[in-house]
Symmetry: none
Subunit: 249 residues, 2 copies
């Protein structure tokens, strides 16, 4: 997937470590456009250290004096808000916000704006945001670190940016062999039953419940052909070493 | 909403700052159960500083010597993996993983396990994970900071706790027995290995790939306690009837 063209704007960040950690958070999620509005201290060794391998994002960060300079060319600006505002500014969840930003970023410049660590966005900044995004947090302790908030929103942007299909495969386990056919499964269960009888584990008079339970277990595992071969190999090895009960033949 | 009862396990974390930041990340999302496996340096002023107002989570963190102690009582253990593994361990997205963990946490103890910063989970730890979770990251720079990864997964857990259903694509099967704990699964695998050796199926010189495949298979099945008992009953029956190889004693 291409880079996610959403600008991250940090207004007057106090701790340079947060700038570095934000750059790293952005790069891990495929974002690269960082704008710093009047940072208290930057550049800084702390920022560079926390950026880890994302120093390119840090180095290409734009530094501007006012929020206006950071977002004047943007068609859609979202403010990150730690609390739900009293004035009922339209507020989105990170997921909805990410879908909206990714969609709009295809045709327009868009940005998310973060306020200073201790105070958040002031009313003047708020007034420039079309909407707010609020990360749902523990009401008893909603104090997300600034870079953590950047990470969560960039993560949602990445997930939103993944084209349907791209990562769908992740939900399904990758197999190195085709799934076993129904007939192969029957062969396995018959073999398993034979070994259970031979070892004396399965009571031939009341086999049903146990057999059902084992079917349910192995059905849940969705065996592939390699696995059926392994299990049957084990059953064959056991068979060879277990003496046949005398009544069998 | 109530606290999210998912245990966060950090294996051998190197940087105490990450422990503190993880505690803060957890608390902002309503999680409180932190277990540290052999932390390099803890307690530490760095950890306390980065925890900010989450010092209660830090203070109540359990410190143990081995991963087994951290998860033996858990019925479902997910490993956080930065890369997609070669043996294709079943891997979930954070969203699917969170829905699964929140659902399972209502009846069972569950955990997410994070490896050390620079190396991630080793194979021994991996073998104790039923599934993995992979945060989709920029393939060109997938180096998420440890505490950032904790934040993203805790965020998804919180969202899953708030909005059950929406993304709950996975069907949770109804069970008539509690899921087996991690310690019970270890007991089963040890027993299985003993029987495989005794029957001559497992080559004691090259046991690894086969054992990993079987772990993957049975992890996928999410065994419950009745099923573990059945399988161990079968193994015991086989053991009783297979003559011991002469070199055993």
């Amino acid at each position: 997937m291409p880079d996610i063209a959403v600008r991250i704007v940090l207004c007057e960040p106090t701790h340079p470590g947060n700038i570095g950690a934000s750059a790293r958070a952005m790069k891990t999620m495929g974002l690269s456009e960082l704008v710093l509005v009047a940072p208290k201290l930057f550049p800084s060794a702390d920022a560079t250290a926390r950026a880890s391998g994302a120093d390119d994002v840090l180095e290409s960060a734009q530094i501007v004096a006012t929020l206006a300079e950071a977002i004047d060319d943007c068609a859609y600006v979202v403010g990150a808000s730690a609390r739900l505002r009293s004035l009922d500014w339209p507020t989105m969840t990170p997921r909805v916000c990410a879908a909206e930003l990714v969609a709009r970023s295809r045709t327009d410049k868009v940005a998310i704006v973060f306020g200073p660590e201790h105070s958040g966005l002031d009313n003047e900044a708020l007034a420039r945001c079309q909407t707010l995004v609020n990360i749902p947090a523990n009401p008893a302790y909603s104090s997300l670190n600034l870079a953590m908030a950047v990470q969560v929103l960039c993560y949602e942007l990445r997930v939103a940016g993944i084209e349907p299909g791209d990562d769908d495969a992740r939900l399904i386990e990758q197999r190195d062999a085709p799934l076993a056919t129904s007939a192969e499964l029957e062969g396995f269960h018959a073999h398993l039953e034979a070994v259970m009888l031979r070892s004396g584990f399965l009571n031939p008079d009341h086999p049903k419940l146990l057999k059902r339970r084992l079917r349910r277990l192995f059905n849940r595992a969705c065996l592939d052909q390699t696995e059926v071969n392994i299990l049957r190999g084990l059953l064959a090895a056991v068979e060879r070493s277990v003496p046949e009960p005398s009544q069998d033949r």
